[in-house]
């Protein structure tokens, strides 16, 4: 490993990869934890610690050990014969994606890290070989996900918040109904979380195994535990506070899960290109798929955790202080809906962005008259930022790539 660092290009890639991992942590940290922090389930400090530890654990223990050199086959790697292109291209893509993420974080826009890195890769691909290198079919899927994710997120969240309030908040005796129905909702949430754990964290393929072995077990377990706990020690006088208190506890778990799966999945956005350059440096070839050494995963995980701790902290603090309009049942509905949409989408093979789905879910809860006020202007800004993510990252990557090809 030491001698590898003496390879200047690999060293640079690792540095840029770390920067990207940091930017992912900075941008996405609040994504996974914000509903819990906003609803007062955890403090910003706790959120940073939970997110930091779980993001790292997810990345290091459950990050994919094999990654495609170019994420998601968005460009045709077989057209790249010169290994240097992979090296310069990876650096350009990482740099472009992290700069865009940094910019987005600065302006508070929840953009997709996956889309950012895809943009970077497309950018250097086009700069190298023209538009024919781009797999436009895949690209169309990415574009479709801009539109599909928030729409699905909104629809599911609309239904979920309606059902949660019908079964609990709108009953004559919300406390009694909460005792009865909350375990059902918690159980259902854990069916989704358990299944997602198999697919997202352990990278399993079969949705059937996911649901039957992991989902149901987690769901039934969660149902029984919450049912027993609610019967034994639950005292509340105000119906809304009572129902909310139950969901507050659940939210800690759902956001912990989001952080874990985020680490397991999104670390690939930072380490994928690094692993590609590593493969070139050690084996001298540019294959389609390359193994990712553990230390690179650890590095990615560390980068994300540092991003959470350094930039994420500030963010969580503002979130905790400012969002007062989000109650625990609403936060739960958003988390639950987003996770469900992502699960169903991976079953159907649809390209879905978690970030976009969460924003859609917030709107869905708003449409169900569950949120008192949503800022329409910000929604507009967010949607615009989604549409420009790929082009902007592509342009920056293209320019950086051209420069590197000249000086390199």
């Amino acid at each position: 490993m030491i001698e590898l660092l003496s390879d200047p290009w690999l060293f640079i890639t690792i540095a840029v990869g770390l920067f990207m991992a940091w930017a992912i942590g900075a941008n996405d940290a609040a994504n996974s934890m914000s509903t819990a922090v906003g609803a007062g389930a955890i403090t910003p400090k706790q959120a940073v610690i939970i997110a930091g530890v779980l993001e790292f654990t997810g990345a290091y223990l459950f990050g994919k050990s094999v990654t495609e050199t170019v994420r998601k086959g968005i460009i045709d790697a077989s057209q790249i014969s010169d290994p240097n292109v992979i090296v310069y291209g990876s650096i350009a893509a990482l740099l472009a994606a992290s700069l865009w993420l940094l910019f987005a974080s600065k302006f508070g826009l929840p953009v997709s890290t996956t889309h950012s890195i895809i943009g970077g890769i497309v950018g250097y691909g086009i700069a190298y070989a023209g538009t024919s290198i781009v797999n436009w079919g895949k690209m169309a899927q990415v574009v479709a996900s801009w539109i599909l994710s928030p729409i699905f997120g909104a629809i599911v969240a609309f239904v979920v918040i309606k059902l949660v309030s019908k079964t609990i908040l709108q009953q004559k005796d919300p406390i009694e109904s909460a005792k009865k129905w909350a375990p059902v909702w918690i159980g259902l949430a854990f069916v989704v979380i358990g299944s997602m754990f198999y697919i997202k964290v352990m990278h399993g393929k079969s949705i059937f195994i996911a649901v039957s072995r992991y989902g149901l077990a987690a769901g039934i377990g969660a149902f029984l535990v919450s049912f027993a706990l609610l019967r034994r020690n639950f005292k509340a006088t105000d119906p809304y506070w009572g129902a909310e208190a139950i969901f507050r506890k659940v939210q800690v778990l759902t956001s912990a899960y989001v952080a874990l799966s985020h680490g397991a999945n999104d670390v690939a956005n930072a380490v994928g290109p690094v692993a590609a350059v590593y493969a070139v440096a050690t084996m001298g070839l540019a294959g389609m798929k390359v193994p990712v050494p553990r230390w690179i995963l650890a590095m990615g995980g560390l980068g994300i955790a540092i991003g959470v701790a350094t930039y994420g902290y500030k963010v969580m603090e503002t979130v905790g202080k400012k969002i007062t309009e989000l109650t625990n049942t609403r936060g739960f509905s958003i988390d639950f809906s987003a996770a469900t949409v992502v699960l169903i989408a991976s079953w159907l093979g649809l390209p879905i962005s978690t970030t976009h789905t969460v924003v859609g879910a917030v709107i869905g809860v708003g449409l169900a008259r569950g949120v008192k006020a949503i800022n329409k202007d910000i929604v507009k800004d967010i949607v615009i930022s989604w549409f420009v993510t790929v082009p902007v990252a592509a342009i920056i990557a293209g320019v950086v790539f051209k420069i590197l090809m000249i000086v390199g």
Binding site: A26, T318, R369, K376, V379, I382
Partner: protein, 228 residues
């Protein structure tokens, strides 16, 4: 990422409740002024009447703040126009109270004929008590509206809200009857009342009954908020 803080805008309902609180206080202060009037303590009456004026100003300020913050950029579970019109009606309750206070300041009613004094005063006091009831119910109605939204428009909470609205309507009806009765008394005795005194008494009754009229209008707006 600050998006979560910006995505959720500040809800207008807490400030609306605050405004309703001030409106209620305005009406309550007016009642105190009328009680002082009833007892003939005109100095205390004037003091309370002036306080009514101050409170009305304060309500106005809150109203302006709410209006400024309720831009069309907000996406809310209830119609923005309904909220704004509701706010206007709620504010007019305070305005009506201020109008009564103004009439109180114009002159002292020591020259009401002795045989009428008792009837006139008891009617006015009844109207004033009912007005307080109306203002209190409006306050309850907006607090309950917050709960309706909190529950995701739960049927139980909506039902409770309708009961409050019905309460406001019945108070308004009662005050209307009292007002009519009051007018009859004044006109029956118009030949022996000095015109200025008649006008003074009639206007006190009229402005008092306006309080519940505005309360009824506000209740009407809340009804509209629930059926979007």
């Amino acid at each position: 990422m600050q998006v979560w803080t910006k995505l959720f805008a500040k809800s207008p309902f807490k400030p609306l409740i605050k405004h309703a609180e001030v409106v209620l206080e305005t009406v309550e202060t007016l009642e105190r002024a009328l009680e002082a009037w009833d007892k003939g303590e005109y100095e205390a009456m004037r003091e309370y009447a002036r306080k009514v004026d101050d409170l009305e100003d304060f309500a106005d300020k809150i109203k302006e703040e709410i209006r400024d913050s309720l831009s069309s950029k907000l996406f809310m579970p209830v119609n923005r126009g309904d909220i704004l019109r509701y706010l206007q009606m709620q504010d007019k309750i305070a305005d009506a109270a201020e109008n009564t206070a103004k009439w109180l300041l114009v002159r002292d009613p020591n020259d009401t004929p002795e045989d009428l004094k008792e009837e006139v005063r008891s009617l006015i006091m009844k109207m004033s008590q009912e007005s307080i009831k109306a203002a209190k119910l409006v306050y309850e109605a907006i607090v309950q509206m917050d709960r309706v939204i909190e529950s995701g428009f739960g049927e139980e909470e909506i039902k409770r809200e309708y009961e409050i609205i019905k309460g406001i309507e019945s108070v308004e009806h009662k005050i209307d009857e009292l007002d009519t009765k009051f007018m009859e008394i004044i006109f029956k005795n118009s030949s022996r009342l000095e015109w200025g005194l008649g006008m003074y008494l009639l206007n006190i009754a009229k402005t008092l009954s306006n309080i519940s009229d505005r309360a009824k209008d506000a209740a009407e707006r809340i009804r509209l908020m629930m059926n979007k």
